[in-house]
């Protein structure tokens, strides 16, 4: 039993848990910073699955899966950087960094410039 | 496929489509150019249809095909039946265009009006020339769309409401039609129209399904043909300008529905199969009820255009009735009424428009004594009204005569009663205004005609008189080979309409 639980088998489970945990945070939290962190934690979960897969078995680790993870991390940091910039931009416009549910003002049709 | 023939068919379509599109982009104030475009397009179409008529008479075939999707072909073809409709609509288009130019003089938005007007006629001619059911449905839907802007042209809330109702009815019916057509395509493949019906070759175990499809097709076409209970859009659509009413009632929309029934019964199912599946029975009952209902409603209407509208509801069902009788004489009656009703009803609408434009008359009771002020228009109205009643030797009589013979032939004697009752009702709602118009003393003093040389604007008067004469001729000259009756009889004789047990020797002998 213990023999079969090499890191390559164990860590993907952890990755799955992280992914689900991040999803939970993304659904439940409203503050944008927390939501962005949640997405990052989800991403880390995916990378953990990838790297776990790469390390499975007795062979040397799979460089392709590792390279994919590296690419993924860079893509994730790029997306995060942009998301943070957008958050600041939104906060400047609205005074807060919270995504509130429900339709926007314009959907209700009463824009401030309405006569 | 005949390449030249195909081009001729395309040219007939393009002769109104292209000017229509050009007119859209013409600045509003280019009246002269627009009129030139309109009239020359209508003229060119008449000439082209004439060429086609000669060609078909000589026995040439005309066909154009384009594959839209695998198994879905866009086919234009010309046979005698399509020419009957195409000729009628292109002649009436010419006249209506002239009338509309006069009618709308000085009103805004004419570019838009004439653009859609031309699209409408293109769609109608497309319907006439469709070579298979899917092509028919395509043009039928285009007709729906092109007519809507005309119905709402006045832009009043009432017009917009009428437009909504019109679209609700026609788009729904179009969907029913589309589903039925797709079902037919799955069952029998996309086949060209074939006199006697291409479905008769299918095995009897499909009959249950065919019955359902047939009912769907009847329901789909019944909306435009204004069969009850799907007619209520038509009286409401009377808010449109008079030329549009003429177009709806005589040239395009209602006729398209009726023509669709003709194609369904004759070229898709074949009358024999339709009778086997009891589709003719359904149509017969519907048509008879509509004839009576329309007449009664017309009697109750006090607005001239309302009365004419309900009269259309009633009269168009004669076409369906003729088909539903499923015998050669009945079919002759129905088909010839397609032409007769068109000419007669357009005369009446032109007159109504004339009264309204010149003297502001909208109600029946305002017609008292109008004959003194506008004798020519009133004469035309009289021709139309008497034609509708079916007074010999006017056109309406010939239709009713053949329908009556058809009823006897088809052992549906009760139809004679329907016809008689309908004629009585017709008389009851057309004779009073005619009598009042000629005989009664006017209630108000009308201004004399000092604006124009004639009793009304010449562009309103001349087309009216022209169609009145046209409405008069088919009855008077019914014996001629080139009269509508002669043409329809030849259609039936030559088997363009394949009637079960067709034996025209009996039929031709009884012409009056």
């Amino acid at each position: 039993m213990i023999e079969s639980l090499d890191p390559g088998t164990l860590y993907p489970f952890g990755g799955a848990a992280l992914f689900a945990l991040g999803l939970h945070g993304l659904i439940r939290r409203r503050h944008l910073i927390l939501r962005i962190l949640a997405v990052n934690i989800m991403g880390s979960g995916v990378f953990m699955v990838f790297l776990g897969i790469a390390a499975r078995g007795d062979a040397p680790p799979d460089p392709v899966a590792q390279a994919l993870t590296l690419t993924g991390i860079v893509v994730a940091v790029s997306a995060t950087a942009f998301a943070l910039a957008l958050t600041v931009h939104l906060a400047r416009l609205t005074g807060h960094a919270v995504l509130l549910p429900g339709p926007l003002r314009t959907h209700r049709g009463n824009r401030p410039e309405d006569p | 496929m005949n390449a030249d023939g195909g081009l001729l068919l395309l040219a007939i379509l393009a002769s109104s489509l292209v000017p229509g599109l050009l007119i859209f982009f013409l600045p509003e104030e280019r009246h002269g150019l627009r009129t030139l475009l309109n009239l020359s397009a209508a003229g060119i179409k008449l000439v082209l249809v004439g060429v086609l008529l000669l060609g078909v008479q000589r026995g040439e075939t005309f066909e154009f095909g384009l594959t839209l999707l695998p198994g879905v072909d866009f086919v234009l073809a010309a046979d005698a039946l399509s020419l009957l409709f195409a000729t009628l609509s292109s002649i009436l288009w010419f006249v209506t265009t002239l009338y509309a130019i006069g009618y709308l003089e000085g009103s805004p938005r004419r570019s838009r009006f004439f653009g859609f007007f031309s699209l409408c006629v293109s769609a109608t001619v497309g319907i006439a020339l469709s070579g298979n059911l899917i092509t028919f449905v395509i043009f039928y839907e285009i007709l729906t769309l092109a007519t809507w802007p005309l119905v709402v042209h006045r832009g009043t809330p009432e017009a917009l409401r009428a437009g909504r109702l019109y679209l609700a009815y026609t788009i729904t019916s179009g969907l029913v039609l589309l589903v039925a057509v797709i079902a037919l395509n799955l069952l029998a493949g996309s086949q060209p129209f074939e006199s006697g019906g291409y479905l008769r070759h299918l095995s009897p175990d499909t009959h249950g399904l065919l019955q359902v499809i047939g009912l769907a097709l009847i329901a789909g076409f019944a909306v435009k043909a204004a069969l009850i209970p799907l007619h209520s859009w038509l009286p409401r659509a009377m808010v449109a300008p008079a030329p549009v009413s003429a177009l709806l009632h005589a040239v395009a929309v209602v006729k398209a529905g009726a023509f669709g029934l003709v194609r369904t019964f004759n070229d898709v199912f074949g009358l024999e199969l339709a009778a086997t599946l009891h589709l003719t029975d359904v149509l017969l009952v519907l048509a008879a009820l509509t004839i009576l209902y329309g007449s009664i409603q017309a009697l109750r209407a006090h607005d001239i255009k309302q009365r004419l509208a309900f009269s259309t509801v009633s009269q168009v069902s004669y076409i369906a009735l003729g088909l539903a009788l499923a015998g050669p004489l009945g079919v002759v009656g129905g088909l010839v009424h397609l032409v007769h009703q068109g000419l007669t009803k357009i005369t009446l609408f032109f007159c109504a428009g004339n009264f309204a434009e010149t003297l502001g008359i909208h109600e029946i009771r305002e017609m008292r004594g109008v004959g003194r002020r506008m004798p020519l228009t009133m004469a035309a109205f009289t021709v139309g009204g008497l034609g509708m009643i079916g007074l010999p030797p006017l056109a309406g009589f010939i239709s009713k005569w053949y329908l009556g013979l058809g009823a006897l032939e088809g052992d549906a004697v009760w139809i004679l009663g329907v016809l008689a009752l309908s004629s009585l009702l017709n008389a009851a709602y057309f004779l009073p205004p005619i009598i009042a118009g000629w005989m009664a003393e006017p209630e108000v003093t009308r201004p004399p005609a000092h604006k124009t040389r004639f009793e009304s604007h010449w562009m309103l008067l001349f087309p009216t008189l022209f169609v009145a004469v046209l409405a008069l001729l088919p009855g008077l000259l019914a014996g001629l080979e080139l009269s509508p009756l002669g043409w329809v009889e030849r259609i039936v004789e030559r088997g363009y309409v394949l009637v079960p047990g067709s034996d025209m020797e009996n039929g031709t002998g009884v012409a009056p």
Binding site: A83, R105 | L69, E141, I142, T156, I182
Partner: protein, 498 residues
């Protein structure tokens, strides 16, 4: 490289990818000339694309491979990344190019003079190029990156107006995109774990209907459905699409959403087809039906023109979603997805850009006050109407062909299906018909004020491109009604179709 794939096609595939990446790069480095780089490059690449289509159609009957597959760097799959070019790819590239070109010509006038002009063009080219690369990609991981490129540029473009709603919409759009992409990536990871390859074609050869495939399909297709705004994951769409600059709205509704469905279809055809079960069909059908009804009802009561158009996209995506349950019964019916994407792409871009023109002219797009400008701008109303006719699925437009195909496949499927599925399939057919009626109602809502009586006021003058491009796109949607056969011919040569 299979010997029967001509060198010219291999070159063309690589060149399409290089141009799609190179132009945005050049425009990013030198945005002062980006508009010219964009228009010139876009026009040239449309020519190149048409040449490729010609080459492809000429070569395809003789090719023994179902698709042109180019191993980049000279490395074949599974080691390298492959580009994948077949009829389906070319059709989507064409749609993308047409919408992007029309949008570019439109944007010339729309964006001119604003401080964001310089920011707009590089991002616009990134969106266009990113979608091209997405469509060309044949590798699961590479698809993830292209998805991110396309969505990041789309989000930045949505936010560009700087309006509160636009930025809020962009934020929602970004979060849903990140979630969708990660879900997609996790699915790809599962597939890689089991099969050790990422190439879609190889995955298709190895995959069956095991648990990994099921889970991966749920993650990947679920992520894409989220990005495609399929009910009930559609909430973000209306905000994002309606508040973006008009050419961007057109591209988002016209192309970006369609690209997600393209990808769903691609994955389905190549990998997941064995997973088609009645339960899945019913689920997708219900989602599609709900989208159709809900989107239409929202479009019927939305207070702003662009929001009406955006909700109409939700409804129309319901149509595409409805194609999938039918596709499970009738595998041969898959081109209906492309027909819908094509017809909807052109028509919806026309409607949204037309709405943008009216918005610029009137200074707002509130439905209850648009009458005067609608009455004065016949050309734009004509574009809205013609595009609308295609959305309703009336003849003779691309939308009609799509609806015809869908109804035909549905009825055919219903006739052959087992009794349980028969009832469901008839329900889908009824929903398609109902959707057309609802579409008629909301299109009428857009267009009817133009025919009402009242004052006329053309508002602020707009550029020629803003006036003519919606019309050109609508005319394209209509012309597609006659081009069904060539498109079908192109789609015959698609990988994964037996």
């Amino acid at each position: 490289m299979s010997a029967t794939i001509p060198e010219s096609l291999v070159f063309a595939t690589g060149a399409l990818a290089a141009v799609s990446l190179g132009l945005p790069l050049l425009a990013s480095a030198w945005p002062w000339q980006a508009r010219r780089i964009g228009l010139l490059g876009l026009s040239l690449s449309i020519l190149g694309l048409l040449a490729t289509i010609g080459l492809f159609l000429d070569a395809a009957p003789g090719m023994d491979a179902p698709a042109v597959r180019v191993g980049l760097g000279g490395w074949e799959a599974p080691l390298g990344v492959t580009l994948h070019l077949d009829g389906l790819t070319l059709a989507m590239l064409l749609l993308n190019a047409l919408v992007a070109l029309a949008g570019s010509l439109y944007a010339r006038g729309y964006i001119r003079g604003s401080a964001e002009q310089r920011q707009f063009w590089p991002l616009w080219l990134w969106l266009w190029g990113g979608l091209n690369l997405l469509v060309l990609s044949g590798d699961a991981f590479n698809l993830y990156i292209t998805l991110e490129i396309a969505s990041l540029s789309a989000v930045a473009l949505v936010a560009l107006t700087g309006d509160t709603d636009a930025v809020t919409g962009a934020m929602r759009y970004l979060l849903i995109n990140l979630l969708g992409s990660l879900s997609f990536l996790l699915g790809a990871a599962l597939l890689y774990g089991e099969f050790g390859v990422l190439d879609l074609t190889l995955l298709g050869e190895l995959a069956g209907d095991g648990p990994t495939e099921r889970m991966a399909a749920a993650l990947m297709l679920g992520g894409l459905l989220m990005k495609a705004a399929v009910f009930p994951l559609h909430v973000w769409l209306a905000t994002a699409h309606a508040s973006a600059p008009a050419p961007v709205s057109g591209m988002l509704s016209g192309m970006v959403v369609a690209a997600m469905f393209y990808l769903i279809l691609r994955l389905w055809l190549l990998i997941f087809a064995p997973l088609g079960t009645p339960a899945l069909a019913v689920l997708l059908g219900l989602l599609g039906s709900a989208a159709l009804v809900w989107g239409s009802l929202q479009a019927l009561r939305a207070p702003r023109l662009k929001i009406v158009a955006a909700y109409s996209t939700v409804a129309q995506m319901g149509y595409i979603a409805l194609a999938f349950p039918i596709l499970i019964l009738q595998p041969a019916a898959w081109p209906v997805v492309v027909f819908f994407a094509f017809a909807h792409g052109l028509a919806k871009a026309a409607v949204l850009m037309g709405a943008g023109t009216l918005q610029k002219a009137a200074g707002h797009d509130r439905m209850n006050a648009l009458g005067p400008v609608l009455r004065a701008r016949g050309r734009t109303v004509f574009a809205l109407g013609l595009g609308g006719i295609s959305l309703m699925g009336l003849p003779l437009t691309g939308g009609f062909l799509a609806k015809y195909l869908l109804l035909e496949a549905g009825m055919h499927g219903a006739a052959d299906a087992p009794p349980v599925m028969q009832a469901w399939t008839w329900l889908w057919v009824v929903m398609v018909a109902l959707g057309s009626l609802l579409a008629t109602a909301y299109i009428l809502r857009m267009v009817a004020p133009a025919f009402a009586r009242g004052e006329r006021d053309p508002g602020v003058p707009v550029s020629a491109g803003m006036e003519w491009m919606p019309l050109a796109l609508a005319a394209g949607a209509a012309a597609m009604g006659l081009a069904g056969a060539p498109l079908m011919h192109l789609l015959e040569h698609t990988a994964g179709v037996s």
